[in-house]
């Protein structure tokens, strides 16, 4: 099994290398410091969501609401700063708090009422976005943030975009959580066999709740970075990000059925999607077309990754169908 995932990650790495080589050969100024920083900036928010989507999917769940929650947190941030005149750092804390609260709503419905994650987060997907739209009356956008705050999304620290440092810290933390702690082990056990995990005395409800609350909180972090990068806070922030995050996770080799997967796989998945999107925009002159094409390709890529996963599992399943039948 371990060898299989090694292979999966190697394949993904190869895909990224090939993408880079192709875009570098035919695109304009693809492999320049500027453009690499660009790619990083544009993928940090989705990357953050993908990182925390990984534990959720490992437990056999899914969170469709992270994109909407990002929107709600962005609006919250804007309101706290623009209407209540909180300093940006405090408003950012408030946004993360709202994210955690949103995660708690998901977690409570999923764990204490034992409702399917799919339908719960589909409901909150609509609910969170709806609240964001209602709060802003559908049209208000908060702008004119202080330069000190905008630096978070648009400047460098030690030669690397500032938000990349935030991403790095979160990535290390999530990696440690998933791969080096008992909680990470519990995520997998729950993903493979929720009842079995309960019989082993694992705190199933609390671990599942942890995954969703973490997802919500980091959606808040991503919202603050998003607002800083695009310099405005609107209700439509992060539309469709949940799909991009799920795509990166699945592409990274995490089984959509739970149990199997890794955070480093997810990171490679994020990179593959980000390079593709940026590379297309370097080849095609019309930005709108390249964005739509990148969307189509992302959807198609997700289907291909899923189908490949299903086919290899089936092939492997046929191989080791042992005497235990």
């Amino acid at each position: 099994m371990r060898r299989f995932w090694m292979r999966h990650e190697m394949v993904l790495l190869l895909v990224i290398v090939v993408e880079v080589l192709i875009f570098n050969a035919i695109g304009r100024r693809f492999l320049t410091a500027d453009n690499v920083a660009n790619i990083v900036r544009q993928s940090v928010e989705i990357g953050l969501l993908a990182l925390v989507m990984t534990p959720v999917i490992l437990t056999g769940g899914i969170d469709l609401s992270v994109g909407s929650l990002l929107g709600l947190c962005a609006v919250t941030f804007g309101m706290l700063w623009g209407e209540l005149h909180w300093p940006p750092w405090l408003a950012a804390l408030g946004a993360v708090g709202v994210g955690a609260l949103g995660g708690c709503v998901n977690a409570a419905l999923i764990t204490s009422l034992r409702l399917p994650a799919l339908i719960v987060t589909l409901g909150t997907f609509s609910l969170f976005r709806g609240i964001a739209e209602a709060l802003t009356g559908g049209t208000i956008a908060y702008t004119k943030f202080p330069a000190s705050f905008l630096a978070l999304g648009n400047s460098f620290f030690l030669g690397v975009p500032v938000q990349a440092w935030v991403f790095f810290v979160v990535a290390v933390a999530v990696w440690l959580l998933v791969h080096r702690t008992t909680a990470g082990r519990a995520f997998r056990a729950i993903g493979f066999a929720p009842e079995g995990a309960r019989y082993a005395g694992l705190p199933v409800g609390r671990r599942v709740a942890l995954a969703y609350i973490l997802a919500g909180s980091v959606a808040g972090v991503a919202a603050v970075i998003f607002v800083s990068r695009v310099t405005e806070a609107r209700a439509n922030a992060g539309v469709g990000y949940e799909l991009a995050a799920i795509t990166a996770v699945v592409l990274g080799g995490t089984s959509i059925f739970g149990g199997r997967g890794s955070v480093h796989g997810t990171l490679l998945g994020v990179a593959a999607v980000a390079v593709l999107g940026n590379g297309l925009s370097r080849i095609l002159s019309i930005t709108a077309v390249s964005r739509e094409l990148a969307g189509i390709l992302t959807g198609a890529l997700l289907l291909v990754a899923l189908a490949a996963g299903a086919l290899t599992t089936r092939w492997r399943g046929a191989g080791d169908r042992g005497p235990s039948a």
């Binding site: 702690t181 008992t182 056990a189 066999a193 079995g196 082993a200 005395g201 149990g259 042992g322 039948a325």
Partner: protein
């Protein structure tokens, strides 16, 4: 690895042909081939002398093959009548569903096997034995020429078993052939005309039932003569460790159970299916917490409302269904063993320690595996059970509850597990062992608790005879 190799099997008109073998011997695979659920790689299948080239469930049904599965394969959301109709008619998609007709026939079939189940009830409301009766009604109704019964008595009460035996004999008399799979030798001797033993995916031999005895059958199954002896008790029990005081749980129907388990003692828990034994274990372990009475551990009253509390108090529960609850099949042995020890809090993983513990248990319990990295699914049933036990021993418990520790385990592994249990008791563990295997209960227990209707019906001394235990379980005075 092949599940089945060059097996030839024939079934005559009007016979009960028993199929016997250890877990993993290939019985289930053979059944799946016969019912068309799996396609064989090689070989042929003939029904009534005609070869059948492309076999699938629909074709199997058309040829009069019906199967009663261990776990009833019914539609929980549909009514009994509809379940029977879907199974029997192989209805065509674009035809009307005739509800009245279906209900009438279902009522008729259920009456024939003496089951008092209303046909319009939804299957989700039925108990396990009732569902099995519906399965049997399906088989009867299909007028099948071949009826396969896969461990049909596993969840039946004594009364329902007798009902089932009568149905089997009636089927045989009507000219059907019955393939009967069971681990219980006494059933095989009571019902079968011939018996085929499978081992490691191959047929070891087919014999008429009167040419063979129990010892020979066991020898064929394990490949060598094994005389099954239960290991003797080694030392007298010590202090009371676990004490139940009028414990009850309205949710699971357990009421007013009181008894003690001492250090170094094995208390067997006998009873019919549905008597509340597993339910009692779940109460003690905190899966369905008690709402009346209490648990006293080492003289101190404790409230166990969650498995983690139970673990913290040194209570361990090795569940009955090891594939679903006992081990996580996809995870390596080492991770399975450390799992319950992780339940207490959030902390870092310690790979080296985990591996060392796993290797120790692989040696001390004799787990046959490729190594601590081998997944649970790669193990045989007996070895999965040992992993499940190891997981709980790793928590260093003082009370060990074992639920059907040798169910579906082959004979050799069974005796190894018995030795392990005895050794654990000798080391001072208080053991509560639930089992439906009467010889096991009698052979292993220092005292025998018998449950009936959710409560403790009797506490018998060790070495009581089978008749006494069974009478208590049935609620009759011992004669």
């Amino acid at each position: 690895m092949r599940a089945l190799r060059g097996v030839s099997f024939d079934l005559r008109v009007g016979e009960v042909h028993a199929l016997l073998g250890e877990n993993g011997a290939g019985k289930s695979t053979l059944i799946k081939v016969i019912t068309g659920a799996h396609a064989p790689d090689s070989g042929t299948l003939e029904v009534g002398g005609e070869p059948v080239p492309h076999f699938n469930p629909r074709e199997a049904h058309r040829r009069g093959i019906a199967c009663i599965y261990q776990q009833p394969a019914l539609f929980a959301d549909l009514s009994v009548a509809e379940n029977i109709a879907l199974r029997l008619d192989q209805p065509r998609a674009f035809e009307l569903a005739r509800a009245t007709e279906r209900r009438a026939r279902a009522a008729d079939l259920l009456a024939r096997i003496g089951a008092g189940i209303a046909p319009e009830r939804e299957v989700r409301e039925l108990s396990m034995p009732e569902q099995q009766l519906v399965e049997i009604a399906c088989a009867i109704g299909s007028g099948a020429r071949v009826v396969i019964m896969d461990e049909p008595t596993a969840s039946l009460t004594q009364k329902e078993q007798h009902l089932l035996f009568a149905v089997v004999r009636e089927l045989r008399a009507s000219g059907a052939g019955i393939i009967y799979i069971s681990h219980r030798l006494e059933e095989i001797f009571a019902l079968a005309d011939r018996v085929t033993v499978l081992r490691d995916g191959e047929s070891v031999g087919t014999n008429a039932i009167d040419e063979i005895d129990e010892a020979k059958l066991i020898a064929m199954m394990v490949g060598r003569e094994v005389t099954h002896l239960f290991p003797p008790a080694e030392c007298p029990p010590g202090e009371v460790v676990l004490s139940l005081r009028d414990i009850g749980c309205s949710l699971s129907g357990v009421r007013d159970v009181s008894f003690d388990v001492r250090a170094g003692e094995i208390v067997g828990l006998a009873g019919l299916v549905g008597a509340g034994r597993t339910e009692l274990a779940r109460v003690i372990f905190g899966l369905t917490p008690a709402d009346r009475g209490g648990i006293v551990l080492d003289g101190a009253r404790v409230v166990v409302d969650d498995p983690r509390v139970a673990i913290a108090h040194g209570i361990a529960y090795v569940p009955e269904d090891r594939r679903r609850h006992g081990v996580i099949l996809e995870m390596p042995i080492a991770q399975n063993i450390s799992m319950a020890s992780h339940s207490r809090d959030l902390g870092w993983l310690r790979d080296a320690a985990e591996l060392r513990v796993a290797e120790d248990f692989i040696v001390s319990l004799g787990i046959k595996a490729a190594g601590p990295d081998a997944t649970g699914s790669s193990l045989s049933g007996g070895n999965q059970q040992k992993v499940s036990v190891a997981r709980w021993l790793a928590t260093k418990p003082r009370v060990l509850i074992l639920d059907e520790p040798t169910q579906g385990v082959d004979v050799a592994a069974k005796s190894e597990i018995h030795k392990i249990i005895r050794r654990l008791a000798a080391d001072g563990l208080a053991v509560l062992m639930i089992s439906s295997d009467l010889p096991e209960i009698i052979g292993m227990s220092d005292r025998i608790g018998v449950m009936r209707g959710g409560t403790l019906a009797a506490m018998l001394p060790g070495g009581s005879d089978a008749h006494t235990v069974m009478s208590a379980a049935l609620g009759k005075e011992a004669a």
